[in-house]
Each structure stands twice: as C-alpha cells, then as structure tokens.
C-alpha cells in the first residue's frame, strides 16, 4: 500500500511545541515522554490543537470537563492533574474541579452539561452500549450534530491521552489534585433516556447516529489521499464529514503514526490495530484491519486468527510479544505494568519501536471510541469467526469478559458478598456453601426465566454452582458478585437451550414488535384484587403467567419484579442496553397484565 507520506498530505509545516505551549501554557510531560519519536508528538499536538484547544461546536471549557471526568474515571492521575490545571487556568474554581474529578453530578452544572458528561463517560467506559437514543438525549438537550461529533471525538482524545499515560507513565507536570476514592457510583445510568420527555422510542437503532453529508475529494483534499492509500473512503471518515476540521487532524495523526515504515512495519502496525480492536470487541475496526492485513499479503485465515486469538497465530515470538503488549493497553489497561515494555526490549525492539507501538495502540483506542460513539457501519463483512467469538465472549463466563469492569468500577465497595468471595478465592472451599445458599433463589429464578421449565431449572442448578466455583478465580470484583452469578446461570441455561436446539432467541431484537405491542383489555380491576385469593393461589397464578411469556420478557420481568434488581443491574446481568431492558420490561408486564385480567376485574371472583 502506498504511504501517505509519498503524497505529502501530512507533511505540512507545523511546529508542535509552539502549538502545545499556546494550548497548555507549557509542554506537558506526556508529550516529552514521546521525544524519541517526533512524528508521534506532531500527531498528538495536531489532535490536541483541533480537538481540544479550539472552541468548536463545544467551548474549550466544556471539552476540558469531559477530559477531566474521563481521566478521573479511568483512575489516571497524570491526566487528571493535567486537565485540572487546564480548568484552573480557565478560571474554574477548585471546588468544582474536585467535584468533576470525584462525582461530576455534584459540580453544580446545568442539566445539559450533565447529560453531555454522562454520555461521554458511558462512551469511554462501555462504548459498545452506546445507541441512537443516547445521541437523541443529547439532541433533546440542545446539542447539534456537530457538537455530538465533537463530544465523541473529545472522548476519544481522552482515551488516547490515557492510553499514552498508562504506557509511558510520565512524571506529573504539576501537583496532582487529591483524587477522592470513588465510593459513589459516578454514573447511575438509570436516567440516561428516562429523564428526557418525549425521547424517541427507537430502541437500539443502528448507526450511523449522525447524518454525514457527501464530501468530495475536490472539496476536501485529504480524501484524495485516503482514496489513494485505501482505495476507497472508509465509512469511519465519511461519518465525520460534518466536521472536516476534526477529520483533518485525525488524518494527519493517521499519516504520521501509521503510514511511515521506518520503525515497525505496516504489517506489525495493522496486527496491533487488529488485535487491540478485537480485544475492544470492535467489529467495525476488526473488519477494516483484517482487510488491510489481507492487502498486505497475509492469508485470510491468518488475519482471522489474530482477530480471534493472536496467541494461536503463526506470528514470530517477537511479534506475538508486541501484540501481547499492545493488547494490555486495551480494555484491561489497569493491569498494564511498565515491565511489559522492558520485556519487549529483551526481544530486540528498540525504544523508538516500542514508542511507536504505544502510539499505534493509542490511535487505535481513539478510533475504536469514535466508531462506537458515532455508530459507524462496517465497510466490509466482519469475519464470521470473529463475530462468533465475540458472541461467545459476550455470552461466556465473565472470566473471559474483557469488559466485566466497564460498567461500574464503584460497585466493588458495595458488594455484600465481597468478603466471602475473597475467602473462597483464598482457598476456603467451605465458605462457598454459604455463598451458594445466599444466592440459590436468584440462580434458580434466572434459570427458570431462561429455560421456562421448573424441572430443567432444578437440573441445571448443580451445573451452575459447579461452574461458578470453577470460574470464581477469574471474578475480579468489578461487577457485583450477583451480576456475575446471573451471567454464569445464563450461560448454563443457554447451553441447555442449544442442546435442545431451541429456536427462540433471547437476544433477538424485534424492537418494532416490542414497541407496537398495545394492551387490549380495558375492564377496570377491583380495588385490591389479590385479596380475593390466597397467597399460594396468587403465587401459582403468577407462575403460570410467567411461564406463558416468551423467555426474553420473562427473564427481564423475573429479575426486575421478582428478584427486585434495578433496571441497570438487569441490563448488566443480561448484557443488554438499559433502553432494551425497559422496552422488554414494559412488554412483559403488559403481557402479564393481560393474563391476569380474567381473575382481577370487577366481574371475576376467585376462579384461579
């Protein structure tokens, strides 16, 4: 593939240090840490200039708030300090800065700013859960499409900075503010769609989330370069045509970091992009980079193997280690350690090559974030083996879930099971019995909900408990133990469904059907209808009604109304979006209502 450098698109005169001094007031150590690779500094400075320093559709102060909230949320003390200093220099009071770093909701911001921060934090934590409604919420708060793109891209910049900061561990530029321990869940996502009156009811509409007017290579010369290097204009770039100013900076960064071949080869870089995108479960980027690697002469099987599990591919041990290193800067970045870089040096990588690998990974996380935030549709077919693997990962035990912690890091503290779990993990087998007893009902109900069969659910109890014990070592306490257990039970149940070649899908999203459901019966109910029946009659009636429901509604109703979990907890347990849970919950409740009508209206009496 021809490099962009040949076309000269990114080699304009540009002094990164002047730009950085103007924007930050100094050159941050995060940039100094990239000194061995001037083009990485240039790329980074270009992104900062276009995405952060300039007042665009969002003013700088608003963007700095986003950058600060995300840095603090990712527990990145370097970036937290950097953005705190920027906000202070913009005249924001210290107290507000500290609130933003601990819980942005206490920062006394207007609702629209809160909605914006909530969106950006959700994108940074759990980007794949972003849906069209989330952008509708922003529109309802008065943000236009240009501003939404900017919010997405600024979030991506926050992720870019944090990736670099984790990998390069720069010295603090200034005294870090006190990062308060996070004992409060920063983002209760409950009201994300709920608080906005008349929000569109279009649950889980696929992307793209913002309109993308056609932009020709004549109007935007960078597209001519992309056309030449890629052979086409990927949807990723097309999705941002409302903001050519941001695109220009992104393409500059792509040109500076990905195109040169003096350090890492193109194939090495594309492998990093592929492996880290796969770890981020980003289908769009997996499809792009599989295709790129094939263009570089790799066989389709080999590329697919990197997407599915690079450790099983035929790469050299050095390349394998390079990917291991990069993947650690993906969703599990909290586990990264500086020794990982030292390891690469012993395998013969130079300081510059390692730095380039870091920059490529940062750029990858940046692009993955933008893709999810804008809902960019794939250019190519996503390799089926990857989709299969992804489904398995999403379905499988949370030990394999790279995103186990993505929803809330704060829950750990409030989990009443944490102590017992720790004891079991410490080797105390007997304590497992207590844990199992605590959650027997929950597991049983989760199994019934999916299987719709009492006897089979009882059968599946044993497998579920054994599987929970087997995998408990991989439970990291980043979600509630009960959430994790439900997913174990769900896997056990799904396995049984597959075994009996069950066809009804739990995950099918017939959203239209869900939404168009309308209640029919309108006869009034008695004042306290349940008093006409004994407790056991009511229980039997409800159980029969629940068994009548399709599994996907039954699961949601049972976890929410019988087990009394919050809507957000149910969403985590079933790995659904909150809007999807709400839609299914309403439909399930209304179906049960219909079922109960004959027993509850004024003309009916004790006929259960």
């Amino acid at each position: 593939m021809p490099g962009m450098s040949e076309v000269g698109g990114w080699q304009q005169e540009f002094d990164p240090f002047t730009v950085l001094r103007e924007g930050f007031g100094f050159v941050p150590n995060l940039l100094h840490a990239q000194a061995a690779l001037p083009r990485a500094i240039a790329a980074h400075a270009k992104l900062e200039e276009a995405l952060c320093f300039r007042d665009g559709a969002l003013p700088r102060i608003c963007k700095e708030r986003i950058l600060l909230s995300i840095a603090a949320d990712r527990q990145d003390s370097y970036c937290t300090a950097l953005t705190s200093a920027a906000l202070a220099s913009l005249g924001v009071p210290q107290a507000q800065i500290e609130s933003l770093a601990s819980n942005y909701r206490d920062a006394g911001l207007p609702d629209s700013d809160l909605a914006l921060l909530k969106f950006c934090l959700k994108l940074s934590r759990n980007g794949s859960s972003i849906c069209f409604e989330d952008t509708e919420v922003l529109r309802a708060h008065g943000f236009g499409n240009e501003a939404i793109i900017e919010a997405v891209v600024v979030t991506a910049l926050a992720v870019y900075r944090c990736t670099l900061s984790v990998a390069l561990a720069p010295e603090a530029d200034c005294k870090p503010p006190l990062l308060r321990p996070k004992n409060v869940s920063a983002v209760p996502e409950s009201t994300l769609t709920a608080s906005v009156p008349k929000a569109h009811q279009k649950a889980e509409r696929s992307g793209p989330f913002v309109p993308a007017p056609y932009l020709s290579s004549n109007e935007f010369e960078e597209f001519a370069i992309v056309q030449k290097s890629h052979g086409f204009i990927p949807n990723f770039f097309r999705a941002q045509t409302l903001r050519p100013d941001l695109l220009q900076a992104e393409l500059y960064a792509v040109g500076s970091i990905l195109m040169p071949e003096d350090l890492l080869t193109r194939a090495q870089k594309e492998s990093i992009l592929l492996a880290v995108s796969a770890a981020n479960l980003n289908s769009y980027c997996v499809a792009v980079h599989c295709n790129m690697l094939r263009g570089l002469g790799l066989s389709a099987e080999e590329a697919d193997q990197i997407a599915v599990d690079h450790r099983l591919s035929n790469l050299s041990s050095a390349d394998m280690a390079l990917l291991d290193f990069a993947v650690k800067l993906g969703p599990r970045f909290l586990e990264f350690s500086r020794e990982d870089a030292a390891q690469l040096q012993t395998l013969g990588f130079t300081q510059q090559q390692i730095l380039e690998g870091v920059a490529v990974t940062a750029l990858n996380n940046f692009a993955n974030t933008i893709q999810m935030g804008l809902g960019v549709e794939p250019d190519f077919e996503v390799p089926p083996v990857f989709e299969h693997r992804k489904m398995k990962l999403l379905d499988a035990t949370p030990t394999l879930m790279p995103r186990e912690g993505a929803v809330s890091l704060a829950e750990t503290i409030q989990d009443a099971d944490a102590e017992l779990v720790a004891e079991v993990k410490g080797g105390n087998l007997e304590v497992f019995e207590e844990l199992a007893r605590r959650h027997t009902q929950l597991i049983y109900r989760a199994l019934i909900a999916i299987l719709g069969d009492v006897a089979e659910a009882q059968d599946a109890m044993q497998d579920t408990l054994l599987s929970a014990f087997k995998h408990i070592g991989g439970f990291e306490g980043r979600s509630k133990f009960s959430t994790w257990l439900v997913s174990i039970a769900r896997n056990a149940a799904l396995q049984r469904l597959r075994a009996r070649r069950f066809t009804e899908s739990l995950d099918s999203d017939d959203a239209d059907e869900d939404r168009n459901f309308r209640p029919r019966q309108i006869a009034a109910w008695q004042e306290n209808p349940e008093q006409c029946y004994s407790r056991s009659e009511i229980q039997r009636l409800v159980e029969r009604g629940l068994l009548e429901l399709p599994a996907k509604y039954r699961t949601v109703v049972m976890l929410r109304d019988v087990e009394h979990f919050s809507t957000e907890d149910v969403a985590r347990q079933l790995r659904l979006s909150v809007p999807a849970v709400k839609t299914r919950l309403l439909r399930g409740r209304l179906m049960l209502r219909e079922w109960l009508v004959p027993y509850m209206t004024r003309s009916s009496k004790g006929v259960a």
């Binding site: 409950s190 009201t191 709920a194 608080s195 009156p197 008349k198 009811q201 087998l429 007997e430 497992f432 019995e433 199992a436 007893r437 027997t440 009902q441 049983y444 109900r445 019934i448 009492v454 009882q458 109890m461 044993q462 408990l465 054994l466 014990f469 309308r518 209640p519 309108i522 006869a523 009034a524 109910w525 209808p529 349940e530 009511i538 229980q539 409800v542 159980e543 629940l546 109703v557 049972m558 109304d561 019988v562 009394h564 809507t567 709400k582 839609t583 919950l585 309403l586 409740r589 209304l590 049960l592 209502r593 109960l596 009508v597 509850m600």
Partner: protein, 80 residues
Amino acid sequence: MITCEEFFAEFADYLENQVSPEVRQELELHLAQCRACHVLYDSSRKTIKIVSESDSFELPQKVFDPIIDRVMSKLRTERS
C-alpha cells in the same frame, strides 16, 4: 392535553417513577380525563405489585439442600 399515544410513550418511565415533574403533571392530567389509560395504568400498577409480592418460583429448602450437598461433596472430592 396529550394524546393516548403520547401517554403510552412515557408509560414505562411513569410506572418506574422516572419522569420529570413537568411530564408527570401532563400524564396525570391525561389520566384524570381518559378512562382507558386510567384503567391501563391502574391495572399495570397492580400487576407489578402482585408479581413483586408473589414470591414466584421459590425453591423449597427441601429441594435445594440436597443440590447444595451434592455440589459441596463433589467439590470436596475433587480437592482431595
């Protein structure tokens, strides 16, 4: 006044007590005037209450005790 369609669009959130005071006021105004929606709301609320208090699918101790015993003895055997 809002239409039944508009009422239904907010219905899920209303049942969950998650609408803003302004929206709530609109919805309640509608409820006061529309019998069909009132019945729907009243019966849905009662449904949720009935289901929530039903203790459906409670697994009796005499069923789960042996299950837990089997699991624990299996784990003990595997360990030793």
